[in-house]
């Protein structure tokens, strides 16, 4: 590899998976901030409906409407908040950044299978971001049909003016294209580029999670691509796939078709977001308990089972559409089946801690928080899965609470764990543990206050996506709680800046990291910082599983790199 690369090749159009991973990371953090800011505006409106946005929430942005958020703006806010958080924050951070950064290093490869495709994938995502951001400058604003964008509301005939929805659809199609390129790359890389000796069941569970996520991406993003194409044609060419009733002159199609296509993709999508976290959590629990992951194989198989099951349960988002009894019952049954593998690997997580030697480094704290929040998030999924309970809870804040626990809370904590854990390898320095601890506790407490109380609201009947809840008498008594959530959310948001500060500051001022600060076994810790393009001087030969911690055969230390034969170690 030549050392004389132009800045251009090195930082911008880099082919190095590590640089591309970082690019994704920064893209994701930017949108995480952006989406988080929108969340706070949503919260402001829910607590103080139609009151001027204060300056510290950038109230001047709403000068046009007298400082207040108007209904149209509110719809745009949560639509873009959901879209951005899912497709532009979590996907780039967990799959784009860590998929890229971690997979080749952990399986002992020099790079991705297709470095150019990898670069193209990032730049397609970048283009998608530009299209998405451009929609903020349209005269009628961004899309406003919810992140699910059900037609006919998301069609011309549905009554939302302007081209925001078209931009949204285009941006999402582009982002999908990027994701598909990435998915091909990750799947094939894991199949093809593993170092000698790295069998499937010697891969770290984090690779398992990322790999399974990519498989889901490969199968289901094409499905939503088809849906988006049809939506786009409906908007641009006058087809009527998703129009029916009075709005569809001369026949027309069926809005339910979109819902099916969307959720055939949409349900797996939520597992796409959580699978990397499950993998990372399984791996980190083992590292910081200094103990092999309990039931490693079973955990991997459970994740595979969930991948399979996740593709046949989409109907649970549509119980109230007038679904036939047969489908309703089948989908409930299939959905509930997921709790078996979920609780099995959950049990394995807990038993990994059992008899371990727990080191509460910051990545471990975030990881343990995932156990807490995912237990709540997962278990509340069961209410939603129940047809009768869901007749009441569907489209209420209860669902919002459920998915923030699973998505926002679990995935965010998983992301923080991953960032803190791989930071030394990515940037060569350590993050400040004190700041991380403060951030951890602040986030953990306020986040639970925010999201748990959302479920309380939902149970009390508060439906979602409403601009001014106080319109309803039955919600009026809940407004106090709404205010409380908003305070908590503001605190939550404020604490994130500690992390952001720590993240940036440590990049320049943090203590230089050792080669293997966490004493981990996996291959990425066998190379020095900065990891050169090409990663390994010599492709390692893998001998052990990823979790040989506290192996009694190893003398003098409680870890052994995967590439060191145990008999000859220590």
């Amino acid at each position: 590899m030549s050392e004389h690369q132009s800045v251009w090749r090195k930082y911008i159009f880099s082919l190095d998976h590590k640089m591309i991973g970082k690019q994704y990371l920064f893209l994701g953090i930017f949108f995480l901030l952006f989406g988080g800011f929108q969340a706070l505006l949503i919260r402001w409106q829910l607590a103080y409906p139609e009151q001027p946005v204060p300056w510290w929430l950038l109230g001047f942005l709403f000068k046009g409407s007298g400082g207040i958020i108007d209904p149209d703006m509110y719809n745009q806010l949560f639509t873009m908040h959901g879209t951005i958080m899912i497709f532009w924050a979590i996907t780039p951070i967990l799959i784009g950044a860590f998929g890229n950064y971690v997979i080749p290093l952990q399986i002992g490869a020099r790079d991705m299978a297709f470095p150019t495709l990898n670069m193209l994938s990032f730049w397609t995502m970048f283009l998608a971001s530009i299209v998405l951001l451009a929609s903020y400058f349209l005269p009628d604003g961004t899309a406003a049909g919810g992140w699910t964008s059900y037609p006919p509301l998301s069609l011309e005939e549905g009554g939302i003016p302007g081209h925001g929805q078209t931009y949204w659809t285009l941006a999402l199609t582009l982002a999908g294209t990027s994701t598909m390129m990435g998915a091909i790359n990750y799947v094939i890389t894991v199949i093809r580029m593993r170092a000698p000796g790295m069998t499937y069941f010697k891969m770290p569970l984090s690779v398992w999670g990322l790999w399974l996520t990519s498989i889901l991406n490969a199968i289901f993003v094409p499905v939503i691509a088809a849906g988006l194409i049809m939506l786009l044609l409906d908007r641009l060419l006058g087809t009527q796939f998703f129009l029916a009733g009075r709005l569809a002159a001369g026949g027309g199609g069926d809005p339910l078709l979109y819902q099916h296509v969307f959720w055939i993709f949409g349900h797996p999508e939520v597992y796409i977001l959580i699978l990397p976290v499950w993998g990372i959590v399984s791996e980190l629990l083992s590292v910081f308990s200094r103990k092999p992951a309990f039931g490693y194989k079973v955990t991997a198989i459970c994740m595979c089972t969930i991948v399979v099951l996740s593709s046949i349960v989409w109907g649970h988002h549509m119980y109230t559409t007038g679904m036939s009894p047969l489908l309703g019952k089948s989908f409930m049954f299939l959905t509930l089946l997921i709790s078996i593998p979920s609780s099995i690997f959950f049990f394995n997580w807990l038993l990994t801690l059992w008899k371990g030697s727990l080191h509460f480094k910051t990545p471990m704290l975030y990881t343990m928080a995932v156990i807490w929040v995912f237990a709540i998030g997962g278990l509340t999924g069961l209410y939603n899965a129940t047809v009768t309970a869901d007749i009441y809870l569907h489209d209420t804040m209860f669902v919002v609470g459920h998915f923030h626990y699973t998505m926002a809370a679990s995935v965010l904590f998983g992301g923080y764990a991953a960032i803190s854990y791989w930071y030394p390898k990515m940037f060569g320095r350590m993050m400040n543990p004190l700041m991380n601890r403060i951030h951890f506790w602040g986030t953990f407490i306020s986040l639970n206050l925010v999201f748990f109380n959302m479920m309380v609201l939902g149970y009390a009947g508060h439906h979602r996506r409403i601009y001014n809840p106080a319109e309803y008498d039955f919600i009026k008594p809940l407004m106090g709680l709404n205010e409380f959530i908003t305070y908590a959310a503001i605190v939550l948001g404020a604490f994130q800046f500690i992390y952001l500060f720590n993240f940036t500051w440590s990049m320049f001022k943090g203590p230089i990291a050792e080669k293997n600060p966490w004493k981990s076994n996996t291959l990425e810790w066998t190379v020095d910082y900065p990891v050169p393009h090409g990663n390994f001087a010599e492709i390692p030969q893998v001998y052990n599983g990823p979790n040989e911690y506290s192996n009694p055969k190893v003398k003098g230390q409680d870890w052994v790199p995967q590439s060191v034969q145990i008999e000859s170690a220590g």
């Binding site: 149209d72 509301l153 009554g159 992951a293 009894p325 009390a460 996506r465 039955f474």
Partner: protein, 266 residues
């Protein structure tokens, strides 16, 4: 299982809207049961976490056990755990739910006693239609009350059939614990029965545009006599013959000709 509410504490400190329906308790019950078991499991998880943190932290327990957990007994243990969760939560709530669907929510009442209503939400209002004296929809004595007004008699099963004028809406009655989407191009149905008189709210639970948040209806549950008095006081709407034509003929944004011959529920 009778009313679970009596002996299981809920975990939500805000009460849901007052239940005034015949079957709402079923939904409350299944939620209560789920509350109970998941609190239990979450408690176990938290207890385990706390115990491990206390017992196995590295200061107290510097040497971890070397345990892969891949022996047969471990496999059996975890699978049994999974099955316990499945049997104690999933199977139970599934049984409850299927029973309730069969006995109540999917068991549409038939017969003379049933009040039939057609509903056609639009951006952003509720239109309701009663069959009138002859109990046939599409005749000249159909009653269409002012928008957003729905009156029903107490202790009478009510079947509402829905379709929509424009985009998807969802007919949500918090006090009855139910909702049903109204989707263009199809007629969906829902039924309920009130057990108490009073005034309640109807909400739209599906995002339908800028006015979604104030797409609110007023539900008045009256005694039977009051209801029929009220009904007879309403102006019957003269309908025209072309049923498919509803909508082209708007009067200040209020569709005049709409409705459909009553459809039997499967």
């Amino acid at each position: 299982m009778t009313n679970l509410k009596k002996w299981l504490p809920g975990i939500w400190f805000m009460d849901p809207p007052k239940d005034i329906s015949l079957d709402g308790y079923r939904i409350d019950n299944v939620i209560q049961y789920t509350d109970f078991v998941i609190t239990l499991y979450f408690g176990i998880v938290v207890a385990a976490l706390a115990f491990f943190v206390w017992k196995y932290n590295s200061r107290k327990h510097p040497k971890a056990a070397y345990e892969h957990g891949d022996k047969k007994k471990h496999l059996i243990m975890t699978v049994v755990m999974g099955m316990v969760v499945f049997l104690s939560i999933d199977v139970v709530i599934e049984t409850m739910s299927f029973r309730d669907l069969k006995e109540a929510f999917w068991n549409f009442p038939k017969g003379k006693d049933v009040l039939r209503i057609e509903a056609m939400p639009m951006q952003y209002a509720w239109n309701f239609r009663y069959a009138g004296e002859d109990e046939e929809f599409g005749t000249d004595d159909d009653v269409v009350p002012p928008q957003n007004i729905l009156n029903i008699p107490v202790n009478t099963p009510v079947v509402v059939q829905l379709t929509t004028y424009d985009v998807i809406h969802s007919f949500y009655l918090p006090n009855f614990r139910i909702k049903q989407d109204a989707t263009p191009g199809m007629v969906t149905a829902i039924w309920f029965q009130a057990t108490e008189t009073g005034e309640y709210e109807i909400a739209c639970a599906e995002l339908c545009g800028n006015g979604h948040f104030k797409m609110k209806g007023y539900l008045k549950v009256q005694s039977k006599e009051d209801f029929y008095t009220w009904l007879s006081e309403q102006e019957p709407e003269v309908t025209e013959d072309d049923w498919d034509d509803w909508g082209d003929d708007e009067d200040e944004g209020v569709p005049t000709k709409w409705g459909w011959p009553w459809k039997e529920v499967k």
